[in-house]
Symmetry: C2
Subunit: 332 residues, 2 copies
Amino acid sequence: MVKMIDVAKRANVSTATVSRVLRNPESVKELTREKVMQSIAELNYQPNVLARHFRRSKTNTILVIVPNIANTIFSQMVQGIEETAVQNNYRVLLGNSNRNVEKEYDFLDLLRQRHVDGMILLSSRIDIDTLNELTAQFPVVLASEYLNNMSISTVRIDNRKHGKEAAAHLLSLGHKRVAHISGGLNNRISFDRQDGYLDALTEHGLKRDNRLIREGDFTFTSGYNQMQELLSLRDRPTALFAASDEMAMGAIKAAKEKGINVPEDLAVVGFDNIRFSSFFEPGLTTVAQPAVEMGSASMELLLEHIKDPNFKPAERVLKSELIVRESCGLKG
Amino acid sequence: MVKMIDVAKRANVSTATVSRVLRNPESVKELTREKVMQSIAELNYQPNVLARHFRRSKTNTILVIVPNIANTIFSQMVQGIEETAVQNNYRVLLGNSNRNVEKEYDFLDLLRQRHVDGMILLSSRIDIDTLNELTAQFPVVLASEYLNNMSISTVRIDNRKHGKEAAAHLLSLGHKRVAHISGGLNNRISFDRQDGYLDALTEHGLKRDNRLIREGDFTFTSGYNQMQELLSLRDRPTALFAASDEMAMGAIKAAKEKGINVPEDLAVVGFDNIRFSSFFEPGLTTVAQPAVEMGSASMELLLEHIKDPNFKPAERVLKSELIVRESCGLKG
DNA sequence: ATGAAAGCGCTAACAG
DNA sequence: CTGTTAGCGCTTTCAT
């Protein structure tokens, strides 16, 4: 393996000069620089990044902890993160936790051992104390979720506002019995979307009806199951706001199986705007989460933290919008 | 930052012993080991992985180059890779090329600079010469695709066999005019699936009809567009084999828009068995690609290469199977 | 503008 | 079984 000293010798300079050419080309006289560059090219020299990382104790690598990379919404966020990272000469290490808390904790050692310069969490079950310990020492950004105490930087959307928007859309279409299938209630996002739904009811002069509110877990299957329950009610709902597109699709499947047509007999609004929402029949009306942008924004925020260790925790709330398709009965 | 020498001093041993406790605990007397462990715990010592990587010139990190991480089939493969990597104490660096060849080439420097110990390519446009240069020097595995000259290890399925199976399924249902929408023909996989389709025709005594064969690019939109063309034929097909589920869904959408019912008027078989194929209406009959397993198998193969630099290029062909749902008209 | 040289923290060969 | 010690290849002060 050809190393810096070889390049230096061939160019009749010292390793310091070679290093300068690589890191601060402008601090070296043009002629010298050219000699060095030529020597590098002739020897096909590749700097040893391990030595460099070691010496500078910096890796230009960040860690992303994902609950499930095979889930569209997360893989889109990762796409945004990766893109912005590479643009800024950073690399992305992938930590797929499979929703396993222990695995999440294991990944944290990569931060502690300086294997990475920072970390982005896409939803996480890590306890507050550990999180505080880490954010005090290392750059960390939490994406999509958020916590009450603002000691950690966050990128998210206004779930409550958009939950309200989704439900209000159905109410303004004249529906009086609007059901809600929430995400898992171990999750702040689920509460926010549900609170938004409740806000909309209040604004339309309707009372909360607990029989119309059911807890799912964001998955297709949970949407399917909870809808079956809702359809067995005497006074069954005429509309549904599901806290995820997958659940909305599951719910629609349950409805179809009972001969209930969407949107004619049941209007549905989802949340996320995953790729398949537009392929689905009927096209799903949904709140579009800007997943890729959330990823980019998280990476940008993380870079701020990395550059300036005194950077204060910040919050970025991105805009979403309601995408109206066929499932709510407005278009058709 | 507390380092090895601090631990050593507190435990009254040398750094060598601390190092041994960390890497070969069994080579150290139990009493000594315990002293060291205690010292590590008391000081909350975290080994500096950068120094370790540098010293051992090994990173326990591998690179995955993905055309598009937001695409389900690839994110599933990555999931399998990550899982197996972590199990074997490896980390996964993500390189999302966005189907941009230049970005792919840029990522290769991570290998050349020993930033990673090996690389898995999930489909790639890198030229043969570069690939040969790299495989000669570094552990590399190509997943899902493959090349003619076997100088690189490969994990794939038998696309031709399963393309034949898919088409044969439609033919055995009595269809005589079976259309095919292929993937992009810059891709070996697309040819294989198409050849399988042709094999099936031959076996059923049918001639190739070029009007029934159209080139897509695996996306929903291309399926939609190509189906519109197929439906404008005088003698329109009664069945379709699409080389991806997304294209199958796009094709079904095009059919529905013309009032053509699936499967009654048009039987459809896709390929991949992405998550949404079972949610789709009608449920998509498709060839199930074992994406997660392909990822795991790739990582396992890569580990063989890493452990034994003389390991010969190998090929793993994984099993797939036809999943029969509603879209082919068999089930109802 | 360039060179000399000291180390970054760890590992492993060698010695005992 | 344990200690001593020489680096790994690069960056960066300090001189010149």
